[in-house]
Each structure stands twice: as structure tokens, then as C-alpha cells.
């Protein structure tokens, strides 16, 4: 186990180096001269020169790369180009809003999709099962944007069931007032693809021998499906959910943007709009790192939940 973890961590190094190289290449070469981007349109040669010197852009390429590696290692990406706030502080202050929105969504969505998936597998092949699958296919073909635009217009603007947008200070206030509509819409968007995925996990289990044994000893179908099958189908579900947590922070960027929630997703959109390179660079590198770590955690949890799995 320890050897496995050590090896996985060791294997992350080249990937991480690649991510750093990719980001460096993107922002220093593809994007043109960063000094021009920072200086803006109205600038003279002296200003650009002084920015170049301050950013180390006059140094050879490997020195610039080394500066970037040091930034990654020390969590110090300097200040945002637009607000002047240190990037680390910027993310620390945006994280709570994102989590307030995404954690309830994650929990509710996982539970709802699991129950739906087990229920649909119970009646698999029936008219009910096929009908729901058709509805899900239709739901998945409608753009996320349409769900949000219509939901915000009808539920909040026309019928006044929720505030149209906004965000408060207290956790409870946010959870009870501002978060419900975004969570509801996020649920509407996520329920179709996730139920479909979880359904395949459940269907992988229903033909196993232990299910036949459980039925043979006279257990009710509900108990077989929701206790025996569900517990085994949970294993891939947990892995899936854990390894998707980093993406979750970004996944809600449309919701955060539409509802004016000061979270990380909205911050990234703003950064892209304003060419705020330090913010985008930092987010790309650290989310990639988090993705790798959470993938490893997902695999380890898989091992904990199912001792038959051999980690190689």
C-alpha cells in the first residue's frame, strides 16, 4: 500500500512538470508578450521595458521558467493584474462561496441519482425505464444555458420564488436564500448524465451471483436492490464522485456567473475576460495538481471499499 502510494506520487512528478511547461508555454509564447498584455493599449516603450524587467522577461527563457516553478512551489503568484489582490488571498476569499454552492449540490445530486439509478435498474427494460431514459436524452440535448436562463427568468423573475441573484455574508442566509435556485438548476442539468452513468454501475452488479443468492434466501426485491446491490454499486460511484471534486469548483462557473455568486468559477471567467494571467495560471496548475491527488484518493478508497481490488 505504502509502496503503491509512493509510486503514484512519484509518477505525478513528470505529469506535473508537463502541466507547468504547458502553462508556461501557453502564457509566455502563444499569448504573445505578457508585458504588452499587462501594460494595455495605452503604453509607451519605457513602461513596457520596466514591466519586462520587473517580470524577468528580459532574462533567458530557462530563468523565466525557473521563476514560474518557484511561484508554483511557494504558492506565491504575486498580485492579480486587475485588482492588485494577491492571487492566493483571492482564491481563499472565493472558495467559501463555491463550496457553499457545490457541496450541497454534490451531496443531493449523488443521492438523487443513486436512488434513481437503482430504481430504474429495478424496473429495467420496462416502459418506465425506457421512458425515463428518453426524457434524459432530451434533457441532455438542451444546453445548460437554456436551463439557467429559463429557470432564472421563470422561477425567480416572473414568479418570485427565489431571489434573482445575489449573495450574502452568513452561511445560513446563503444556504437558505441564495443557494437553492442555483442548486436546483445544477441538479436539473446533472441528474441526466449522472443517473445514466450510475445506472450502468448498478447494472454491472444485478447479474452477480450474490444477488441470486440474496433472492434465493427469500429477501424482498427492495432489500436486494437497495441494500445488497446498492452497497456494491457504491464503490465505483464513490471513486467517480471523489475524482470529480476538483472539477466541481469550475463546473459551477456558469451558475456562479448567472447568479452573481462570488466563487472561484466566476473569478476565472472574469480573469479570462480581463486577461488576468496570474489568476488563470495559478488556477490551472493547482486544479491539475488537485485532480491528480483526488484521483489517487479515489483509487485508494476503491481499495478500502473493495478488498478484492489489487492495486498495481
Amino acid at each position: 500500500m505504502t509502496a503503491y502510494v509512493a509510486r503514484r506520487l512519484w509518477q505525478m512528478l513528470p505529469t506535473m512538470a508537463g502541466v507547468i511547461l504547458l502553462v508556461f508555454f501557453l502564457f509566455n509564447w502563444v499569448g504573445g508578450d505578457p508585458a504588452y498584455v499587462l501594460a494595455g493599449l495605452m503604453s509607451n516603450q519605457e513602461q513596457i521595458e520596466s514591466i519586462r524587467t520587473a517580470m524577468g522577461l528580459n532574462e533567458p527563457l530557462y530563468v523565466q521558467l525557473w521563476i514560474f516553478v518557484k511561484q508554483v512551489a511557494t504558492f506565491d503568484f504575486g498580485a492579480s493584474w486587475t485588482t492588485g489582490e494577491p492571487v492566493a488571498q483571492l482564491f481563499a476569499s472565493r472558495l467559501p462561496a463555491s463550496l457553499t454552492l457545490m457541496l450541497p449540490l454534490l451531496v443531493i445530486e449523488t443521492v438523487v441519482c443513486l436512488v434513481l439509478a437503482v430504481g430504474l435498474s429495478w424496473v429495467r427494460g420496462s416502459r418506465m425505464d425506457r421512458g425515463v431514459m428518453v426524457i434524459f436524452t432530451l434533457l441532455m440535448s438542451v444546453s445548460i444555458l437554456v436551463f439557467i436562463i429559463l429557470g432564472q427568468y421563470l422561477l425567480a423573475y416572473r414568479w418570485g420564488l427565489f431571489p434573482v441573484q445575489g449573495w450574502g455574508d452568513g452561511l445560513w442566509k446563503n444556504l437558505s436564500t441564495y443557494a437553492p435556485l442555483p442548486i436546483l438548476l445544477g441538479l436539473l442539468v446533472g441528474v441526466a448524465p449522472h443517473t445514466r452513468l450510475f445506472r450502468t454501475f448498478v447494472l454491472d452488479e444485478v447479474d452477480q451471483d450474490y444477488v441470486r443468492t440474496a433472492r434465493a434466501k427469500g429477501l424482498s426485491e427492495a432489500r436486494v436492490m437497495f441494500v445488497h446491490v446498492l452497497r456494491n454499486a457504491l464503490i465505483p460511484v464513490i471513486t467517480f464522485v471523489i475524482s470529480n471534486i476538483p472539477g466541481l469548483l469550475l463546473g459551477a462557473f456558469l451558475l456562479e456567473r448567472f447568479f452573481g455568486i462570488p466563487g472561484i468559477g466566476r473569478e476565472i471567467i472574469l480573469a479570462v475576460e480581463r486577461s488576468d494571467f496570474p489568476v488563470i495560471k495559478a488556477v490551472t496548475v493547482y486544479v491539475a495538481l488537485a485532480t491528480m491527488v483526488f484521483n489517487l484518493m479515489g483509487d485508494l478508497l476503491y481499495r478500502l471499499a473493495d478488498p478484492r481490488v489489487q492495486l498495481r
Binding site: T15, V23, L26, G31, G32, L138, S141, V142, R257, V272
Partner: protein
């Protein structure tokens, strides 16, 4: 070839793989219908691209926010009074203009627009699918938008497919350091969540437009294709027909792309179709956010942006039209993909 020339026709050539697939596909009614819808959209795209239909989508043909002709009564309370936009010609110089420093230039400018404006321009009060803020026909816009969205989706998916397939083929075929290098590249791209990579590339590209969207989506979505192709080529490398080709002296390239490629083409086709759906959805979001197709072009994404503002004053037809068109195409393409997979994968039958 030899058998077909046989005099008594006793031996018949067995049907090829594609023909068998077509036999299975033609029995699938859902697949056939979705293929019809997809082909219909592609026909529309071809016609708009050549300028045969919807060429004048930018022309003001109706009053601003003219409702659809089939929903006039329902929308009259919601839409509010519709009025033509104030024209530049309505302006008459007043006393104040004597002190206006640009009064002279203004009068000249007015003179210059007059001949064009004097033609009688009758604006319709209703259109089949209504009009947008500037009195443009929503139906024409949707068709023109389909051209952008579908072409960008197809092109981006093509870039990703070629990139992923070639890299996967080379990686699976040669193995060794080539494989290690490609795998490393795959891991790097796979570690960054797709949407973040898309936004990061959108941030550094200072050119906006359809070509930029194709580059952004093509360079970020190739990983799934790579993974599949690598596995397929590793599998086929050891097959007997490939060894036989090796024995008669076929080169690496010939074995990879003449012998193996046709045998994995069904995997590529299905994956291409899946990628197209994903790219169309992504294009709509990118254009909505303003990182995609510029405002002077039209795509389903820019239509949704306008529709969001329209909705606040009760104008819903642009949203309806863009949503219907996009959902219809995406559903049809998804169902077609399922049907193709069933028809092309012999294991299923």
C-alpha cells in the same frame, strides 16, 4: 473479383462489413429518422454556406421584436408596444445646432444616407418565427446560426479526431519511447479539467472567431480519441492479418494506415460523432461567454445571449427557436451515434 466472373455463379461473394452494418442500420427505425434529421441540417448548412438561403439574415425585414405570426394574441400583453427604431433620417436640425461644432458634418452625413433611405422599406408586423431587436428574421438567424455552430462543431471534432487518432496510432503501434512520450502528453492534458484548459487557451488567444474556437476545442478534446486508438492499435498489431502484411514486406505506414485503419474506422466514426455533439455544446457556451464567435457573426450561442436580454421584456421566440434547433440536432446526432455503434459493432448483434 475472381468469383464474380465464375461462369455458373455458384459461389457468391460474402457481403462486406460495411454492407452488413448498413443492413443492421436500415432495420433501426430510430437511427434512420435521426439520420434524416442530421442530413436535413447538413443540407441547410450547405445551402447557407453557399448563400442560397438565409443569405440576407442581417436585413431588417420587420419591426423590432415582431412576434411570430402564430402567437400574436398570446404575446401582445407580454411584449408591450412594438415600435420601429428611430431612424437617423427623423432628425431635423434645430436652433441649437447653430452652435454645434459638428453641425456641418452632420448635415453632410445626413445627405449621404438619404438616397438609400428613400427607398420604401415596408417592415412586416409578423414573421413566421418573429423578429429580434433589430427586426431581423429569427428563422433566418437560426438557420445561419446553425451553419456556424454545426460547422465549428464538425471542424473542431475533426481536428481532435485526427490529432487523437494519429497520436494514438503511432503510440500503440511503435510502443517504446514514442508511447511513453505520447502517454505523458495525454496525462498532462488529462490532468487539467477540460473546461479550465479551454478557458486558459481562450484567454491567451487574442484572435476571436470561428477559427479560434476550432483550435481551442480541437486541441483540448483529443484525449479520449487517443486513448481508444492506442488500445485498438496495440490490439491489432499482433493480429494475423497484420503479421501477414509484414511478411509480404508492407512498410510501417502501409500496415498502420492501409491495413489497420479500415478495421478500426468504425470506432473513429462513433467517437467523431460523440465529439461533434460535445464540441457544439461547448461552442454555444464559449460564444455565450463572449470567447467564441464574435458579435457580428451569428451562432446558437450568440442567439442565446441576445435571447436572455429579450426575455426580460417578454420576448421569448428567439430563445425558443435557438433552443429547438440545437436540441433537435443534438438529440438526432446522439441517437444516430447510438444507432451507428449498434450497427458497426458486431459484438452487440
Amino acid at each position: 473479383m475472381v468469383f464474380s466472373k465464375h461462369p455458373d455463379n455458384s459461389v457468391q461473394a460474402s457481403p462486406g462489413a460495411w454492407r452488413l452494418a448498413w443492413q443492421r442500420f436500415s432495420a433501426d427505425r430510430v437511427g434512420l429518422w435521426s439520420a434524416c434529421i442530421v442530413l436535413w441540417f447538413l443540407l441547410l448548412v450547405a445551402l447557407t454556406a453557399t448563400g442560397l438561403i438565409a443569405a440576407e439574415w442581417e436585413k431588417e425585414v420587420a419591426i423590432g421584436h415582431a412576434p411570430p405570426s402564430w402567437a400574436t394574441s398570446a404575446s401582445s400583453e407580454g411584449a408591450g408596444p412594438t415600435r420601429p427604431l428611430p431612424s437617423v433620417l427623423d432628425y431635423t436640425p434645430s436652433h441649437a445646432d447653430v452652435t454645434d461644432p459638428i453641425a456641418k458634418e452632420w448635415a453632410q452625413a445626413q445627405q449621404a444616407v438619404k438616397p438609400a433611405g428613400e427607398q420604401p422599406n415596408v417592415l412586416a408586423a409578423h414573421l413566421p418565427m418573429g423578429a429580434d431587436k433589430w427586426g431581423r428574421d429569427v428563422l433566418s438567424k437560426t438557420i445561419k446560426g446553425a451553419e456556424t455552430s454545426v460547422l465549428v462543431g464538425l471542424a473542431a471534432a475533426l481536428v481532435a479526431t485526427v490529432l487523437g487518432a494519429v497520436l494514438g496510432a503511432v503510440s500503440g503501434w511503435f510502443g517504446g519511447w514514442v508511447d511513453d512520450l505520447s502517454n505523458w502528453l495525454y496525462n498532462v492534458f488529462h490532468a487539467i479539467p477540460g473546461i479550465l484548459l479551454i478557458l486558459a487557451i481562450a484567454a491567451v488567444l487574442d484572435t476571436k472567431g470561428s477559427a479560434a474556437v476550432v483550435v481551442i476545442l480541437g486541441s483540448t478534446t483529443w484525449t479520449g480519441m487517443y486513448r481508444l486508438m492506442r488500445g485498438e492499435f496495440m490490439k491489432h498489431r499482433e493480429r494475423e492479418y497484420v503479421r501477414a502484411a509484414d511478411a509480404i514486406g508492407a512498410s510501417n505506414m502501409r500496415r498502420m494506415f492501409v491495413h489497420i485503419l479500415p478495421n478500426v474506422s468504425h470506432v473513429i466514426l462513433v467517437q467523431y460523432s460523440l465529439l461533434t455533439v460535445a464540441c457544439i455544446k461547448a461552442e454555444v457556451i464559449l460564444s455565450y461567454l463572449g470567447f467564441g464567435v464574435p458579435v457580428d457573426g451569428v451562432s446558437w450561442g450568440t442567439m442565446l445571449t441576445e435571447a436572455q436580454n429579450d426575455l426580460l421584456v417578454g420576448i421569448w421566440w428567439q430563445l425558443l427557436c435557438a433552443t429547438l434547433a440545437m436540441s433537435l440536432f443534438v438529440t438526432a446526432l446522439s441517437l444516430l451515434t447510438d444507432a451507428l455503434r449498434d450497427a458497426l459493432d458486431p459484438k452487440v448483434v
